[in-house]
Subunit: 130 residues, 2 copies
């Protein structure tokens, strides 16, 4: 799916994404995350074992709303599927990249035992609202 220039601006701006997944009992779950994009795929970096990570192992379908922080009435809606999970050094380097985008500094909140994973999300539907 081609991501157009307007959508790209929202994704690459310092905007938070709210990612929804489905719990084991079929109820919905939503959390704010940092968001990145490479080659038309959305990238979310999380810790192995977190609810959204466990949920997407069972059901890879996600929905993401990314609100433009300069105008909250404008947001990008993305429906997608987690098609790959990247762990190890690449995931650790990626959280630094994201942290620099959002905070200006490398990631400083590592906790002992945390193993990071990048959820690589293929967009299947995308809509800019507002």
């Amino acid at each position: 799916m081609v991501i157009n220039e307007e959508a790209r601006k929202i994704i690459h701006g310092k905007n938070f994404a709210f990612i929804a997944t489905v719990n084991a009992d079929g109820s919905p779950q939503v959390t704010p995350v940092w968001i990145d994009e490479e080659d038309g795929y959305l990238l979310v970096n999380t810790v192995i074992g977190r609810v959204k990570e466990v949920n997407t192992r069972r059901d890879p379908r996600v929905s993401i709303a990314i609100a433009d922080h300069r105008n909250f009435y404008r947001y990008l809606y993305v429906k997608g599927q987690v098609i790959e999970r990247i762990t190890g050094d690449r995931a650790e380097e990626h959280i630094d990249k994201l942290s620099i985008k959002y905070t200006g500094d490398k990631f400083r909140w590592r906790r002992p035992g945390d193993r990071r994973v990048v959820l690589k999300i293929k967009p299947v539907e995308m809509k800019l609202s507002g």
Copy 2:
């Protein structure tokens, strides 16, 4: 469920809520909404026929993340159930109340044929993060 003072501040601040529901095919859906609270229930005002409204008629379970606009790393997570749907004049008055909270003015975006509904949500779990 008692909503504590910290949670109440986030709900009653000019903070956007991201509400997740589940689609007919079991995939998750998420949209930004204005949020209100009365007597321990969360209130979301939408239009009859919108995806989230239709979804909650089929499955009343929702999840809501409300990010503090002054500090996005702080957010209130709420799991809840739509236990009542309020339509008619009360829903029309309520959208004005919400609009005044968020924009300072009465609601100006009514479209012909729109019938509004307040989703009254009973929180079953609530957590303040960040």
